[in-house]
Amino acid sequence: MTRWWDGVELARVAERLVPGSVARAEAGACLLRPERAVETLRALRDDAETDFAHLTNLCAVDLWDRFEVVYHVQSLVRNRIACLKVETADRESPAVPSVTEVWQGAWLQESEAYDLFGIRFEGHPNLQRILLWDGYPGHPLRKDFLAMPGGLQPGLNEFAGAAPRPEPPVRPVP
Amino acid sequence: MQIAFWALAILTLGAAGGVMASRNLLHAVLFLIVAFIGVAGFFVLLSAEFIALAQIVIYVGAIAVLLLFAIALTPRALRDNSETAMVGPAILLGVALAAIFLFVIHDAAWGAGAGDPGIGAADLGRALLSTWVLPFEIASVLLTMALVAAIMLVRPEAEEDADAGAAGGGGEERA
């Protein structure tokens, strides 16, 4: 059975490897500082104790005032998995450092997060929209997508001859 | 015989004219193939079946295919078949030469021998291996040389550098 790293314990290891790398530690996850994130993740990958060779999952979560990028990393030899997080500073121009040079597997997942959330991954070799086409207005997985530029509504928004539809109710951005 | 001859003459010369006139190099090669086939038809008329078949095998099956291959591999911009500024003098020369040829052909008294129509592959083979054995061997050596030369000429530069031999440079200068 794969054991999950306790966030606090992992934070201790991360602090030992890269001092000043952890922003916050919870039971489930360890939050890294964005500016030290790549360094920390590389150190965690190369360290014999953690050995996070396999980036299992990378995704983003919209937290209304900021975004959170979640990394699930695991060690295939030790059979342990951990959840690490990095938060963006703000919502207007969200950016986190890219981990593609640590794990190649982050490449497509970061592109996807960029496409659907609009988070820029700095240092990503080829950051462009992969699922949606270039020039698509807005980033659909943001919670305020319906209020974003472009004014997209659910369903077909252009249907010849149809009467203009009422504005959809949109939850306001706090 | 007559109709076949005239049809073949029109076909061959028309196709040759097509080679001259077509602007697309690929069309020119296709016309050339038609001309080759027409000449093979003449060979059949002259009861030289083996030579006709050899003509088709080698000219149509090998040379034309080689030409097509070379054209397909050159960039699109270089596939036109236009003439240089020398086209006027060249045509003049051609017409003059044709006039001389035609004059000679129709003026000379050709001994109208019956000839020997029945020359089959066996006769030709026997001749090639007895009377003409030296040219035959030379031709085979020439073919081998041509094969080696062609391969040497188009070797990729990386391979040439790796060999560090002097074989590569010759081709470009000769052109």
Partner: protein, 104 residues
Amino acid sequence: MTLTLEHFLTVAALLFCLGLVIALSKRNAVGMLMGIELMLNAVNLTLIAFSRFGSGGGAVAGHAFTAFVITVAAAEAAVALALAVSVYRSRQTVEVDQLDLLKL
């Protein structure tokens, strides 16, 4: 009217002249090569025609000679095309009027 040697010689002569014009006037090296092939064909036709209509025992000689010409033509085409490709690689062109290396 039966077919005589003159008929074939005429066709061969015209074919030869056409080939000559093509060989002299074409810009593209491959085009020139096509002209040369046409000329060789015309010569072959002449040889076979003489062999068929000519008197004397040299009938096989015409055939044999044609066979040699075809052989040489094949070798020539292979080498010429290799040359063209090689030239293209070094000069980026196969247009003969631009191959003026010796003029400079």
